[in-house]
């Protein structure tokens, strides 16, 4: 929208003269989507992981559709931008938002949310998933999830996270709930602060995003005990998935990941949805996207449309329960 604002304002003023008799402008938009630039709202500040992924997706998407303008609207987790999208209004038929775990976790963490995280939105598709990895310091006495759980039931162990309500934090809380252990959460501000504490052994474990810890697993400074996805990751083929490694310890259903997907306002035009999903299919099958994924230890997203909605719904339920048990629910 901000693109060519000047000319838009100018044409708007000109149009306003003509539009008095021609109120057909509003009807025209249905048959030719997109009739304007697409705005992709990133609910976090520029330069973060969500921003980086969004810009890459936007870059590839605009080769298929039309200009995609990325806009950062950080604030209160991701809830400020999400709330604005939910309110809709002018331009919302060309507005997308890159949703991430914050979308579902934020619903539990932030009080009096003025929107319904599922009902108020149209779900385009899940684009990228980044698995989390359960890591312990390289010189830690624990070599398997089983050993760790046994120890954590005996004594208070601690886990680090880049901040309260992050997928890394919630993965830890979920682990704590399912295994009935006494893990203590030590919050940091960003992975940059959290990592040194883990590397030096000040905290005992973390459930960090793959790209953050991958180089340290390679160099042996960290030991990976499990990945949080149901199947092993191609980056760490020797590391078992949590569901397998934690069998018998209540972890049979454990599954978390940092997912990223596009959502829109609930009144998003049907035609736009179809075109957008087709364009995304093309983008995600493309070589560029496939080459981009491994740089973030990421996997292509799988769920589309209503399946994506169901996925978000189940995530919402999962984190709401976890937040309740961790006394985070507002």
């Amino acid at each position: 929208m901000m693109k060519l604002m000047k000319s838009r304002v100018k044409t708007k003023i000109l149009c306003s003269l003509a539009a008095v008799s021609l109120s057909l402008g509003g009807l025209a938009q249905a048959d030719e989507w997109p009739e304007d630039n697409i705005r992709l709202v990133v609910p976090y500040s520029a330069g973060g992981t969500t921003d980086l992924l969004s810009r890459k997706v936007a870059d590839l998407l605009q080769k298929e559709l039309t200009t995609v303008v990325v806009e950062n609207r950080p604030g209160a987790g991701s809830t400020v931008a999400t709330g604005q999208l939910a309110r809709g209004g002018r331009g919302s038929d060309h507005m997308l938002l890159m949703a991430s775990p914050g979308h579902t976790i934020g619903a539990s963490l932030y009080p009096n949310l003025r929107y319904d995280p599922v009902a108020d939105f149209a779900f385009v598709r899940n684009v990228i998933n980044i698995p989390n990895v359960m890591v312990v310091p390289g010189d830690s006495p624990y070599n398997t999830v089983a050993e760790f759980v046994e120890a954590a039931r005996e004594q208070e162990l601690s886990f680090s996270s880049p901040g309260i309500g992050s997928s890394v934090h919630m993965s830890g809380e979920l682990f704590k709930n399912l295994t009935q252990t006494k893990l203590v959460h030590v919050p940091f501000r960003g992975s940059g602060e959290a990592l040194p504490a883990l590397l030096s052994g000040d905290v005992d474990v973390a459930f960090e995003n793959m790209p953050t810890v991958y180089p340290h697993i390679q160099s042996g400074k960290l030991k990976a005990l499990a990945v949080t996805t149901p199947t092993a990751s191609e980056f760490l083929p020797d590391v078992p998935p949590m569901q397998e490694a934690g069998k018998g310890y209540g972890l049979e259903t454990y599954e978390t990941s940092a997912w990223f997907g596009l959502i829109a306002h609930k009144s998003f035009p049907e035609e736009g949805m179809v075109k957008l999903q087709a364009a995304l299919d093309k983008v995600m099958a493309g070589e560029d996207f496939q080459k981009f994924l491994p740089q973030f230890g990421a996997e292509a997203g799988t769920v589309v449309g209503d399946d994506f909605r169901d996925f978000v719904q189940s995530e919402l339920k999962k984190w709401s329960d976890v937040a309740e048990k961790a006394n985070l629910k507002r």
Partner: protein
Amino acid sequence: MEKSELQFGAASESHCGRCNPNSILGGIFSVLAAGFLFYVVPTHIEIPAHMQHPLLSPRFLPQLAGWLVLALSILLMIDGLVKPPKRTETDEFRRGVPIVRQLLMVAAGVVYVLFFEQLGAIGSGVLACVLLFLASGLRNLWVYALAIVFPAVVTLLFIYVLNVPLPPGTLWESLSLI
């Protein structure tokens, strides 16, 4: 909080002769700090249901800072009473400032705070600049042309060169909808 301090700004000027500014400052800050400690903290900082250690309380740091301010303001107040600071002369330029000048400045602030999204970055920028130029009593028309050119150029630079989306103004958009 800001409001009461503002009022004080005026109060100290007029009382400069009888009471000294440090005592008043200390007095006001101690009242504010006490209000903060005994009203704001208990009502606006929740204590979590489960807390491992009193040092971990969300109230710990605000209370520590609150007590620090309270103690120091009382010290400042007493210090001012015991040893009044030397009176400093007010700058001659601060006297006899036309009220219109100050009101126009406030108006410019109001334009930015309340109407930034409605008027857009350019609109509010132009309006505020004109108000502030008027406040200084500028007569040269070329200067007022500057008030239009600058906000427009800067806004466009922000939007296109720096990719920072400043608001185009909802008022203009709704006008064009008619």
